[in-house]
């Protein structure tokens, strides 16, 4: 497989644009940079940040989407994290939730561990996999204008799960660190939806 052209898109700017009008969308972020990217847009009660459980972001999104069919759910993750949960794309395709979007911030590298090249930089196309798994819509984005357009589109209802890959520059902006206390983040998230802690 061939290398694709490196993107010039700034990941922080892309995520900020994507979430600018997120309204009551529930967001789960994957290890590691997407968690920093989400936190950099502002800490919120309806954010659930992963600091581990690699491969789990989209599937946490699935369980959440199934429990909250009246709300839109976004799993914001990276190429390495989604590659580890590749089978989950098949599971989500079969489950076919209408309120779950997966957005992969794809720098084509394992950015947290020394920028080793990932499969997506070697031609593996997550959108093609999602299409083959029955997703309702997929796209690959490379420009601020395309991200702007997607921000509007993902607010609209869908016929099934959608997966979008945003190709970004391979760089590590200064980390923006949310709490690493998962019990706190979990209880805060649940309280936001009206559920009491045990």
């Amino acid at each position: 497989m061939s290398m694709s052209v490196p993107s010039q898109l700034d990941r922080r700017a892309a995520v900020a644009a994507l979430l600018k009008n997120r309204k009551d969308k529930l967001v789960v972020s994957g290890l590691g940079s997407p968690t920093y990217d989400l936190h950099a847009t502002g800490d919120r009660d309806d954010n659930f940040y992963l600091w581990g459980a690699m491969g789990g972001a989209a599937l946490i999104g699935l369980g959440l989407a199934q429990a909250q069919p009246g709300k839109r759910v976004l799993a914001l993750t990276g190429d390495g994290e989604q590659l580890m949960g590749l089978g989950g794309i098949a599971t989500i395709g079969v489950a076919h939730p209408r309120n779950l979007d997966i957005v992969v911030i794809d720098n084509q590298h394992f950015g947290e561990t020394g920028m080793q090249a990932s499969h997506t930089g070697c031609g593996v196309d997550l959108t093609a996999i999602a299409t083959a798994c029955g997703f309702a819509a997929t796209a690959t984005l490379r420009t601020p204008e395309e991200v702007q357009k997607l921000a509007t589109e993902i607010a609209e209802p869908a016929d099934g799960p959608r997966l979008f890959v945003i190709k970004v520059k391979a760089e590590n902006p200064p980390r923006s660190l949310p709490s690493r206390d998962a019990v706190f983040i979990k209880n805060r998230f649940r309280a936001h939806l009206g559920f009491a802690a045990a």
Partner: protein, 176 residues
């Protein structure tokens, strides 16, 4: 094929279904095992429960956490070989203190034809305990029903992470 008529002693899957429904379970995910087949059929036919078939067992750990974030209770069904696939994902349940109820049918421990089931069978309980789960075990139908009832309340009411191991002796010998 002739199937014996279910008796209270052999119809534990129906009892488990009743208990899990009474506990308010709204999501069920699974990688199949013959020992779980009746329970899988019952949940799959239940319109009030969302059922997910998984490609690998750790997906169900993440789905259960997401379900809880959204206010729903979830149960995860697998066989013992699948426990090995779950270990790192169980960090999520352990560190987040997410309620987790896994029902694990044991292979490789009783009249097992396939020796490849044996190593993971041996590792099932120690590896679950090493990552921080509470492990409960049942060898008879009556004991299983009571154990799952207790485990469900422990998981969902007290935010615990529980695996119930269902002895292979109880499930019966696989026909080859």
């Amino acid at each position: 094929m002739h199937s014996p008529k279910p008796t209270p002693e052999t119809d534990w899957p129906s009892e488990l279904y009743r208990i899990l429904k009474a506990a308010g379970v709204k999501q069920m995910s699974y990688v199949p095992d013959a020992g779980h087949s009746q329970l899988i059929r019952m949940f799959s036919a239940d319109r009030d429960v969302t059922t997910n078939v998984l490609t690998t067992e750790e997906e169900g750990i993440a789905i259960a956490a997401g379900a809880w974030l959204g206010g729903q209770r979830s149960v995860l069904l697998m066989q013992s070989s699948g426990v090995g696939n779950c270990i790192n994902m169980l960090s999520l349940s352990a560190i987040g203190r997410f309620p987790l109820l896994m029902l694990v049918t044991m292979r490789g421990e009783w009249a097992e034809f396939n020796p490849w089931q044996v190593p993971m069978s041996r590792a099932t309980q120690p590896s679950l305990e090493a990552i921080g789960l509470k492990v409960m075990r049942a060898e008879t139908a009556d004991d299983l029903v009571e154990t799952v009832e207790s485990a469900a309340s422990f998981a969902y009411e007290s935010d615990q992470q529980i695996a119930v191991l269902i002895g292979q002796r109880l499930i019966g010998k696989k026909k080859w």
